[in-house]
Each structure stands twice: as structure tokens, then as C-alpha cells.
């Protein structure tokens, strides 16, 4: 690369720098985003000696520009001449790491972390580590905050003296004057612990962890909870009790709900990190308390973890712990005053049945499921219904069907259309588990009623639902139960309902197959081409285009083509357009046309069919007719 500097004189640095200084922020931003191009034009040497000093000294700009710059510099190593020169990038990144705007600073730190890996061990000590130290002892909080994220990347690759200094700096920042820096340090504590030698984890990290976990600000304390997971993972089991548990216990009972929320939120990770013994002795009571917390936020976070927590309990007395300690709390949560808590529980509670087995499920869990199925909040009911498969595996869904039906019916008629939408989405799943007879008897009418809902999104979902049902129950079932009703709507006085017939045909034709499509659906579609509403007519054109591939060529030629041609000369502009579209552009991925095209126009790709002129297309159809007849 260095050899290609011959035409550099064409691009005096001043011209390029002018671009970086352009008055218009947008143009400046564009230039910065193409900084690599500028660097390339200058060559590595002048990038190092002219461009970087300029960037370091004179850039005072809008944060958006600085963000782009910070990102660019992370990928600049080759442009300054490779790893041996990578330290040239440190000065501009250092000043970016002191900027107020968090996003810019974070990006600068990210880039610094990236290029730290490209430093040789020597350069790391000579150039990088001093930078970290400078940041760590900066006057304004921003540079100290940035320093927190850099310790862990240089620590593993420096000498033991420097290591000691780094540990000292980190310690200092953990007890910084400003909460912003303490928060940054607390959030990097786990990461830093991972690169430290075990002896220092025990001697240094634990005391810092303890201090941060009892900080005066809850925003700092809650971050210590996150670190707790990493630290507990690093320590040998026998040290956990003395080094970690006192702090964790204290966090679980913190006076700030934010800290308790964090504990609840990280509960599964904590459980894995401390192991089965401590879980049994400490975490079980702590979890009970969180499930009974006075803040709904905390209860909901804990309720979300019920299944995972139970799953990860030591198997030898899992059932006993759940039955005597967890289940009583769960029972209370079923009638919690807060709907978010109930709905969080409803989203996981079904999972307990696989853990507890058939008998316990029937005796203890089933009443809870049934209660939640009758909950006043639709979200709770939905969450239960959406997880029915777990129960189905254990006790079969029949146990629930008596309560299930009223719940489903109620949701199906909920005043909020999004609730109706959600229950429709579970219909195929329910149908599969309840079986075809139950479905025909109880749910079929619901599914048909959705087709004439006054909200389009519901009608659309109902259409899609029918398709999935047909896929599940087969064409014959469709022919007997669904198709007649769908086709009957073609005579509805409401044009929206007539259109629904067309949308259903679009969705169902493939699943129903050629026979039903040609014999039952096609006549209806063709008849609707005389509809007085233009919207219906152009949807006829669209439908014909869609079902074309399923029809046999004879039907296409003798029935579809004349109708489309008639529509193509309709008085309405849109009808004309869609009819012409249907004539000229056969649907892509068509199973009918493509192989044929491949036969006729051999070396060409099947996609070419889409560019055929109408006449060619009809010729292709004719040819098909000839071969199949």
C-alpha cells in the first residue's frame, strides 16, 4: 500500500480537510463517514502525520459527527500502516472518550477496546496503558467513566507491575466521588473480575463488590447484582458462602425496589452461579420473599422466573421444594391485585406441569390454570391458552376443555380487536390439540364469525386461520365444513363480505387442491366478475391471478381468460389495471408455468417467464394444453 503514494499531490490535505470542515453538518457527517477514503487518498504516512493530528486538535463538533468519527477510527489500523502504527489512533480516540455525550464516549471506548487487541504487548504498555491511566485520573467524570471499560482489555497482556497499577486504578474508581463513575465501575466489575487472577478476585474484587453493593445510591447497588453473577461463577464453591452470600442476601432485601427487581430479574443466572446447596438454603426463601414483594414490579419479575427457577432446582428434592415452598406463593399470585403480575405468572405457570408430573398437575396446578382462564384480564387468559401445549403433554387438554371453551369464546368476542387477533392466532394450535370433532362442534362457528368482523385485521387473520386449519384437517374436511360457508358469503349484500370470499379463496385454494378449486371455487369467482362494486371486480382479477397456477390449463383457457379479457376492458381504471396485470404477469414461483417454460426455452432461467408478453404466455398455456390433453 505504501508504494501507491505517487499521485498524492493531486489531493492536497487542505482540500480534504475543507470537506471535514464543511459548514453543513450533513456534508461534514458524510465526509467523516468516508474518512477511510480520505485516508486512502493521503496514504498511510500522511494519514499519520497530517490527518490524525488535525482530527485530534481541531475537531469540536456535533455529537453526531463525533460518533461517526469514533466508529471510523476503530477500523483504521490498516490505513495508518498496520499494527505497528496503531498507537497513532490513540490521541483522537482519547479525546473522544472524554466527550459528554454517552453515545459518543461509548463508541470511542468500543473502538479503543478493538484496537487494543492490535497493539503488541510492548506497545500496550508504552502507549495504551498510559492512556488508560490518564483517563482514569481525568478531572471531569466522563474520562473516568470511559476508563472503566478499558481495564479488562489491557490487564491480561501487561507485566505484573503494571497489573498492580491497573488494579489500583480500578479500586480508586470504584469509590469515586461521582455516582456516574461508580455506576460505570460497577457495571464493569464482573468483566474485570473475569480477567483477574483468582487470588486478586478474592482479595480485591470482593471488597469492591461489597462496597458497591452497599452504595448510598440504588442505581449503583443494582449494578452490583449483575456483577454478582460473574463473581460467583469465578469463585470455588467453598468460598461463596463467606464472600458472596452476605451481599446477595442483603441485595434481595434491599430497601429500594429497583435493587430487588434486579435480583428477581437475574434470579436464574444467580441460581446457576451459586449452585444447588446454596440455592436450597438461601435462594428458596429469598425467592419466596420476592414473590411476595410489596412492589408489583418485583413480584412480576420474580413470577416470570418461576418455571426456570423450579426447573433448575436440584432434582433430588425438587418436587418437595416446589410443593412446600414455591407453590403456596404461586397460588397467591394467581389472585394478585396487579394484572401484570398475574399475566407474567400465566406466561410460565403451565411449564410447571412437566416438572411436577401428572398427579400433582391435576391436583394442584389444574385449579390454578382454571382460575387464570377465568381471570378478568384478557392478557392472563391469553397467556394460559398460548401455553396449552405444555399441559397437553402431561395430562391432555381434555381436562381443561370445559373451562377452556368459555374462555376462548369470551376472548373471541372481546371488545378489543387486538385480543381477538391474539386468540385467532392460537386457533390452529388449539384445533390440533382438541381434535376435529371438538373443533367442529364448538369452535367452527367462531372461526366463521371472525370472517365478518368489522375490523379488517381480524378478517385477514381469520382467513389465514382457515388456511392453517385446512392444512391440519385436510381438503375433505374443508369441502364439507368451510368451503360452502365461505362461498355462501359471495352473495352477501355487504361488499366487504363478498371480498372476504375472494380473500379466503386466495388463501385456501392451494390447501384445497385443484379439484375443489376448479369445481367449486372458480365458478363463484367468475360469477363475481359481474359485481357492481369495482373493488370486488379488481379483486376477482387478483384472485384469478393467484389461483391460476392451481387450475388446469383447460379451465384457464376456456374460463379464466375470457373473463380477464372482459375485465381488462372494464370502465374502472383499477379493474383494468389488475386484469391486465393478471394477463401479462403470471405469478412467480408458479408450479404450472415454470417447468414448462424451462422445457420450451431451455437454456434460459425460469424467471424469464415473468417478462413474457401476454401473447407468449397464452402460447405457453396453449402448448401446455396440448401436452396434457
Amino acid at each position: 500500500m505504501a508504494g501507491a503514494d505517487g499521485d498524492d499531490s493531486l489531493y492536497p490535505i487542505a482540500v480534504l480537510i475543507d470537506e471535514l470542515r464543511n459548514e453543513d453538518v450533513q456534508l461534514r457527517l458524510n465526509s467523516i463517514k468516508k474518512l477511510s477514503t480520505i485516508a486512502l487518498a493521503l496514504g498511510v504516512e500522511r494519514t499519520r502525520t497530517e490527518l490524525l493530528p488535525f482530527l485530534t486538535d481541531t475537531i469540536y463538533d456535533e455529537d453526531e459527527v463525533l460518533l461517526a468519527l469514533a466508529e471510523q477510527l476503530g477500523n483504521f489500523t490498516m490505513l495508518v500502516g498496520g499494527p505497528e502504527y496503531v498507537h497513532c489512533l490513540l490521541p483522537p480516540l482519547e479525546s473522544l472518550a472524554t466527550v459528554e455525550e454517552t453515545v459518543v464516549r461509548d463508541k470511542a471506548v468500543e473502538s479503543l477496546r478493538k484496537i487494543s487487541q492490535e497493539h503488541s504487548p510492548v506497545d500496550l504498555e508504552v502507549h495504551f496503558e498510559p492512556l488508560v491511566k490518564r483517563l482514569a485520573s481525568g478531572d471531569w467524570f466522563t474520562s473516568r467513566t470511559s476508563a472503566c471499560g478499558l481495564f479488562s482489555v489491557c490487564y491480561p497482556r501487561v507485566s505484573s507491575t503494571v497489573k498492580a497499577e491497573i488494579r489500583q486504578h480500578f479500586r480508586t474508581l470504584c469509590s469515586d466521588d461521582t455516582p456516574m463513575v461508580r455506576r460505570a465501575a460497577a457495571s464493569k466489575l464482573g468483566e474485570f473480575a473475569k480477567v483477574l487472577e483468582l487470588e486478586y478476585v478474592k482479595s480485591d474484587i470482593i471488597s469492591l463488590f461489597t462496597a458497591l453493593a452497599s452504595d448510598e445510591q440504588d442505581s449503583v447497588r443494582l449494578l452490583a447484582v449483575e456483577a454478582c453473577v460473574s463473581i460467583a461463577t469465578l469463585l470455588p464453591q467453598e468460598d461463596l458462602e463467606t464472600l458472596v452470600m452476605p451481599t446477595l442476601r442483603q441485595a434481595a432485601e434491599d430497601k429500594s425496589w429497583r435493587v430487588r427487581y434486579m435480583v428477581a430479574d437475574k434470579f436464574s443466572e444467580l441460581q446457576k452461579a451459586v449452585g444447588p446447596e446454596i440455592t436450597k438454603n438461601d435462594l428458596v426463601p429469598a425467592f419466596q420473599n420476592l414473590l411476595k414483594d410489596c412492589e408489583a414490579e418485583v413480584r412480576a419479575a420474580a413470577a416470570n422466573k418461576v418455571k426456570e427457577f423450579c426447573e433448575n432446582l436440584p432434582e433430588d428434592n425438587r418436587e418437595q421444594i416446589i410443593m412446600t415452598h414455591i407453590l403456596p406463593c404461586v397460588k397467591e399470585l394467581v389472585s394478585d391485585t396487579n394484572q401484570h403480575v398475574k399475566s407474567a405468572l400465566a406466561s410460565v405457570i403451565m411449564g410447571l406441569s412437566t416438572i411436577l408430573g401428572k398427579d400433582n398437575t391435576i391436583e394442584h396446578l389444574l385449579p390454578l390454570f382454571l382460575a387464570q382462564l377465568k381471570d378478568e384480564c384478557p392478557e392472563v387468559r391469553l397467556n394460559i391458552i398460548s401455553n396449552l401445549d405444555c399441559v397437553n403433554e402431561v395430562i391432555g387438554i381434555r381436562q381443561l376443555s370445559q373451562s377452556l371453551l368459555p374462555a376462548i369464546v369470551e376472548l373471541a368476542e372481546d371488545a378489543k380487536w387486538r385480543v381477538r387477533l391474539a386468540i385467532i392466532e392460537y386457533m390452529p394450535l388449539l384445533a390440533g390439540q382438541l381434535g376435529v370433532e371438538f373443533f367442529d362442534e364448538k369452535l367452527n362457528t367462531l372461526c366463521m364469525a371472525w370472517l365478518i368482523d368489522h375490523v379488517y385485521a381480524i378478517r385477514e387473520a381469520a382467513t389465514c386461520n382457515l388456511m392453517k386449519l385446512v392444512e391440519k384437517f385436510g381438503a375433505e374436511w374443508a369441502q364439507n365444513t368451510i368451503v360452502p360457508k365461505v362461498l355462501g358469503m359471495a352473495n352477501d349484500p355487504n361488499y366487504l363480505h363478498r371480498m372476504t370470499t375472494l380473500f379466503c379463496i386466495n388463501a385456501l385454494s392451494k390447501a384445497c387442491g385443484q379439484e375443489i378449486t376448479t369445481k367449486q371455487m372458480l365458478p363463484v369467482v367468475l360469477k363475481m366478475s359481474n359485481d357492481q362494486v369495482a373493488n370486488v371486480r379488481f379483486n376477482v382479477a387478483k384472485s384469478l391471478q393467484k389461483i391460476g397456477p392451481i387450475l388446469d390449463s383447460n379451465a384457464l383457457q376456456t374460463e379464466v381468460k375470457p373473463v380477464l379479457e372482459k375485465l381488462a376492458s372494464d370502465t374502472d381504471m383499477d379493474v383494468k389495471y389488475f386484469a391486465q396485470e393478471a394477463i401479462s404477469v403470471p405469478p412467480s414461483h408458479s408450479s404450472l408455468f415454470t417447468p414448462l417454460a424451462a422445457v420450451i426455452l431451455e437454456p434460459q432461467s425460469p424467471q424469464r417467464t415473468t417478462t413474457f408478453s401476454p401473447s407468449v404466455r397464452w402460447k405457453v398455456l396453449a402448448a401446455d394444453g396440448a401436452t396434457s390433453c
Partner: protein
């Protein structure tokens, strides 16, 4: 790296549930419906159901005992008032709640009128009683995106007691017998820190009391002043750069306004830093409208103290000028006018170029309120006089936009305003005006040519990149 921002758990609907929250996303929910649901009160997060009823032994009234026994009884009453009741449970402890309320009332009256009650032993008991009642973890915010203009704030349930405690504390601080030298042992940094955290309360009544309390403490405890300022800094910085959520920003700014007023001259570096690194960035926050008046007041206070700060302030505002929010842009223009009202001509000259480049952009904003607000500057006599003095610099900056809008702005009112401005310029400096009119076209052409040159430069650079990129990959041998 965004993940490293210590974010407190958000409100319920997004944080706690995995399934879509049906209530929140329903496009048909109306504000009025939501409001009805939101009109509820909340209580502190400290109550765990205690279950047991609370019993306080009724004490005689202070006025009914001899003066010599009053201090003793006063202490006893303070201790009783440390008991905190659960107001979310509207049925529990009704009698005792009423008893505490009347006792607090009595205490309020007592500290207002009595003399000689403030023994040294009383200080720790007063502070203890106040701490027990007011310091509490604020509960989670009910709504995720609380819109103070639309939504009703959630009110503090225990207000019947809390209000009296605040009232009592203020009377105590204001009492003639109050001695800061004794009180400072108890009203310390830790106390202030907890007090500041309470400013996040959603209840505006509580924030109003807090404002008075903090103001009195700032006034009476000289040793705490620097600490209070620093902690407010931290709250603001966290608000701007981390959470964007804090209910008491306006109240804190109001206190700062009066604090800035009292700064001695020359200003300390610390204060200047506060202006540039904290107050100016506060303009970037989304909810600026909630505290803009107070913020602008603080800024103007600073500039009246030390006019040399004008340049960094205006440059700061220009740096953070809103790009997409027209409402905020109008606020910025309003603030800028307040600043220009007090600007010194020597400072004006230093900043006029970047300033009027921005104003010229505002004037040509398609949003008529922005354009209108900017054009109103020409109705301000002082600003007009500054523009007139510097018309040779300002007119060339403004001319192109004014000329263009006069021809093509959609809003007739704006066009009319622009005509007036153009007329004013013509009268100010007709020679320059004619010159600019004459060269308008050629100037535009020159700009276009420059633009083209830029494009060509970049095209060449990109070709080069392609060539070099290939070469360095070794595809084209050199």
C-alpha cells in the same frame, strides 16, 4: 455499549411481561379512558404488610401542661410521630391516623408560636421524625411515558400526614430560635442526599414543599452549599446522559436560579463549568418544555453576572440546536431572544456570524411557527439596533434565505413578515442590499458550481479507493 448504561427497570408493561401488552397497544384506547385509570394515588415502597394494628397512647395537649414540662412532652410527641401508617389501606388504623394528624397539627402550631422549646435534645428528635416520615423509596412510576401535559400526576397517598411534616419542618427551619450550628450535626450530607432524591416524586405538592425546604437549608447551612450544588449537578448529568427521567428538574432549577443570583464575582471556575457542562446540555433533553422557563432564567442570570460567558453559551445552544422538533426550536428561539435582550454589543459581534447563520435557517423553516418566531426578532428594538450596527455582516448571511422565502414560502403571514424584514434591511443599508440583489443569481450559480466540484472530488476519491483497495488486496499486481 448502550447496555452499560445503568438503567433502572422500566415501568411494568415493557419490563415485566413477555406477551404484548394488550392495553397499551390497542389503537383505540383513548386518553380519557387511560386518565380515569391513572387517577390513583400511590404510597411509598416501604410497606410490607404488617398486619398488626398500630397503637399510640394519646398524650395531653402541649398547651394543657405547665411550660416547664412542655419540652419533654414535645419530644414525646415527636417520637410518636415517627410511626408511619399505610395509607394505601384506607380502612386500617383510622383512629390512630387521625390522632397523628392532630398531633402534627399541634406541633406545627407549637414551633410557630412558642419560645424556648428548642432545646439541644430536640434537634436530633426533629430530624429523626422528619426523616422517618419523608425519606422513603419512591414507588415505580405508573406510566411508562408519563406525559405531564396530558396525564394526571400520581398523588402521594400519605399526603395528609406528609404535608404536615413538611409544614412542621419548614416552620422549624424558619423559627427564630433555630440554630444552624447545632442542627448541622443532624442535617448533614446524607440527609441532603436523601432530600434531593425525593425531588423525583411525582406529586407536585410534595416537590413544592421540597423546594422550600432545600432553599432554606441552602440558605442556613453554609457548609452544605458546595455539596448541594455538586449533588444537583450529578442529578442533572444523570438525567441528561443516562435516564432522561427525573420529575423535579424544574424545582431544582428554580432553586438554582436564586443561588446563581447570589454568586460572588468573579465567578468561580466551578460555576462556569456548571453552566457550560450541565445547564447547556440540559437543553438536549426530550422533555425540555417542562423546565425550559426555569432553565432559561438560570442562563440569563449567569449572563447578567458575567457577559463574557455569552459566547460559550450561544455556541452551546447552536451546537444542540434541535433538528427535528419544531416545538423545541421555538423554545430555543425564545431563549435566544432573552439572551439577546441582555447581550453586550461587544459580545454580539463575537457571535453574530454563527448565530445569524442559524437564524437564517430558522427563518426559512417550512414550519411557520419556527419561521415566525425567528422573524419576530425584527420587532425587538434592541435586537434591531444591534442588527443595524452590524448590517454589513448580517445582511449577506440573511439575504439569500429571505429573498427565497419571499418568493416561495407557503404561509402568507410569513411572506408578509419577510417583506417587512427585507424592507428594514433595505432602509438600513441600501447599497449593500442592491449589491446583493444584483449578485443573487450569480451567487447561487457559484454555489452550484462548488457543489459540483465537491461531487467530482469525491468521485475521484472513490475511484482511487477502488483502485487502491484492489491493489492492496493483491488483485492487480503493481
Amino acid at each position: 455499549m448502550m447496555g452499560d448504561r445503568p438503567s433502572p427497570p422500566r415501568a411494568m408493561s415493557s419490563a415485566a411481561t413477555t406477551a404484548p401488552s394488550v392495553d397499551k397497544v390497542d389503537g383505540f384506547s383513548r386518553k380519557s379512558v387511560r386518565k380515569a385509570k391513572q387517577k390513583r394515588s400511590q404510597s411509598s415502597s416501604q410497606f410490607r404488610s404488617q398486619g398488626k394494628p398500630i397503637e399510640l397512647t394519646p398524650l395531653p395537649l402541649l398547651k394543657d401542661v405547665p411550660a416547664s414540662e412542655q419540652p419533654e412532652l414535645f419530644l414525646k410527641k415527636l417520637q410518636q410521630c415517627c410511626t408511619v401508617f399505610d395509607f394505601m389501606d384506607t380502612l386500617s388504623d383510622l383512629k390512630m391516623k387521625e390522632y397523628k394528624r392532630s398531633t402534627l397539627n399541634e406541633l406545627v402550631d407549637y414551633v410557630t408560636v412558642s419560645r424556648g422549646y428548642l432545646t439541644e435534645q430536640a434537634y436530633p428528635e426533629v430530624v429523626k421524625m422528619v426523616s422517618h416520615n419523608i425519606f422513603r423509596t419512591l414507588p415505580p412510576s405508573d406510566s411508562n411515558e408519563f406525559d405531564p401535559e396530558e396525564d394526571e400526576p400520581t398523588l402521594e397517598a400519605s399526603w395528609p400526614h406528609l404535608q404536615l411534616v413538611y409544614e412542621f419542618f419548614i416552620r422549624f427551619l424558619e423559627s427564630q430560635e433555630f440554630q444552624p450550628s447545632i442542627a448541622k450535626k443532624y442535617i448533614d450530607q446524607k440527609f441532603v442526599l436523601q432530600l434531593l432524591e425525593l425531588f423525583d416524586s411525582e406529586d407536585p405538592r410534595e416537590r413544592d414543599y421540597l423546594k422550600t425546604v432545600l432553599h432554606r437549608i441552602y440558605g442556613k447551612f453554609l457548609g452544605l452549599r458546595a455539596f448541594i450544588r455538586k449533588q444537583i449537578n450529578n442529578i442533572f448529568l444523570r438525567f441528561v446522559y443516562e435516564t432522561e427521567h427525573f420529575n423535579g428538574v424544574a424545582e431544582l432549577l428554580e432553586i438554582l436560579g436564586s443561588i446563581i443570583n447570589g454568586f460572588a464575582l468573579p465567578l468561580k471556575a466551578e460555576h462556569k463549568q456548571f453552566l457550560v457542562k450541565v445547564l447547556i446540555p440540559l437543553h438536549t433533553v426530550r422533555s425540555l418544555s417542562l423546565f425550559h422557563a426555569q432553565l432559561a432564567y438560570c442562563i440569563v442570570q449567569f449572563l447578567e453576572k458575567d457577559p463574557t460567558l455569552t459566547e460559550p453559551v450561544i455556541r452551546g445552544l447552536l451546537k444542540f440546536w434541535p433538528k427535528t422538533c419544531s416545538q423545541k426550536e421555538v423554545m430555543f428561539l425564545g431563549e435566544l431572544e432573552e439572551i439577546l435582550d441582555v447581550i453586550e454589543p461587544t459580545q454580539f459581534v463575537k457571535i453574530q456570524e454563527p448565530l445569524f447563520k442559524q437564524i437564517s435557517r430558522c427563518v426559512s423553516s417550512p414550519h411557520f411557527q419556527v419561521a415566525e418566531r425567528a422573524l419576530y426578532y425584527w420587532n425587538n428594538e434592541y435586537i434591531m439596533s444591534l442588527i443595524e450596527e452590524n448590517s454589513s455582516v448580517i445582511l449577506p448571511i440573511m439575504f439569500a434565505s429571505l429573498y427565497r422565502i419571499s418568493k416561495e414560502h407557503w404561509n402568507p403571514a410569513i411572506v408578509a413578515l419577510v417583506y417587512n424584514v427585507l424592507k428594514a434591511f433595505m432602509e438600513m443599508n441600501s447599497t449593500l442590499f442592491d449589491e446583493l440583489t444584483a449578485t443573487y443569481k450569480s451567487d447561487r450559480q457559484r454555489e452550484k458550481k462548488k457543489e459540483k466540484e465537491r461531487e467530482e472530488l469525491w468521485k475521484k476519491l472513490e475511484d482511487l479507493e477502488l483502485k487502491r483497495g484492489l491493489r492492496s488486496d493483491g488483485i492487480i499486481p503493481t
